[in-house]
Symmetry: C2
Subunit: 192 residues, 2 copies
DNA sequence: ACCCATTTTGCAACTTGTTGCATAATGAGG
DNA sequence: CCTCATTATGCAACAAGTTGCAAAATGGGT
């Protein structure tokens, strides 16, 4: 239930069309939420129908035509309410550690290069975020809104740092062992 | 497409029934993958029908009766193939940073106590993981499989560390500012 | 023997996210 | 003016995850 609120936030920051939003979801909003353009268009339709946003008056209302949306007071109120809502943290759900654990049972095989690849991807993203920080907030945040945006960016930085640190260690550890396949048995119980 | 593989992994580590698996998904597997019991039962059905696992012979095949599953060679092969598959990292998708960013637009309101609550939850989980590490691997991992499981646990630790570090900073920053609501305008553009 | 709380398994409906493709406008180059 | 690549919007089918509920077994008490 977060995509509509992500859209409301993005639209309050700046009224946009669907494709603009898609691009923005690949950038700033993207470090903590992703969405495909189809999700975005569908959701924009729902939000409009629910009376939370509206399309800015446009000459032609047909297909293939840019359509800009802005948030209505009802949308702002809904977002306000959402911010104050209590919601428990999500359980993480990432396949990579899972694959590593599977490798513990069926043998490491070719997983090591994949770990290296992921480490490098996360490293690159981390660098990118740090670059944003330097470039966009050179003297620190200047408004309250920037302050919060910078905080969120730092969230991305902390998460990526966690990944890099983990993957670096994992690659080190597994490089020591040549990937000998595990013996077949499905033996003893669950650890922890 | 990871749940079936999570199940295969868990079943290879130890053949189990649906409810046992549900419990195990709340514990060890749970630090990087979660699933409800309905997801698990449904998926077990599919895996059985696909010939990747089979129910151990049981007296009565009716409802409400425990049913243990074990992995067939085909299931092991599928898991093996999955481990070697390339797959790009997921984009994160967590509502909390999103809510913070929304707060930058509609005002911070009551978000601070929520951040504190999350910080404490993550702190608690981090402590729990560290406890697992101490308790289950006192002298380091003893087998190759334990080595991998410990690595995965450390993944959980690194992620939780990232959360705690971020939330600690966020709470500090926002405590300075009394939560004054932002002015209404939907003004300037997207940062970064 | 019966009742009742608990455990285990499961169905059904719904929401959210993904993939593949289609259609309309736009604008540059011939 | 026409073509063609690009951009913007959108439909439809599917896959994955969530929620609410319920039936069958189990294992006490009484």
């Amino acid at each position: 239930m977060s995509l509509p609120h992500a859209l409301l936030t993005a639209l309050l920051e700046k009224p946009s069309s669907g494709s603009e939003l898609t691009r923005r979801f690949d950038r700033s909003i993207g470090y903590f939420w992703s969405a495909t353009h189809q999700q975005i268009y569908r959701e924009l339709g729902k939000l409009e129908q629910a009376g939370l946003i509206r399309a800015l008056p446009s000459p032609v209302p047909t297909r293939g035509q840019r359509k800009e949306y802005e948030v209505l007071p009802e949308g702002r109120a809904e977002l306000r309410a959402w911010v104050d809502r209590r919601e428990d943290p999500r359980v993480s759900r990432d396949p990579l550690p899972l694959r590593l654990r599977a490798a513990g049972v069926v043998g490491v095989g070719d997983l090591l290069p994949e770990l290296v690849r992921h480490r490098d991807l996360h490293r690159a993203r981390l660098e990118e975020y740090r670059e944003f920080e330097r470039r966009d907030y050179p003297g620190g945040p200047r408004t309250e809104q920037e302050r919060v945006q910078l905080l969120v960016l730092r969230g991305g930085i902390d998460m990526e740092t966690g990944w890099v640190s983990w993957l670096t260690r994992a690659v080190e550890e597994l490089s020591g062992t040549a990937g000998a396949p595990e013996a077949g048995g499905s033996a003893d119980g669950d650890v922890s």
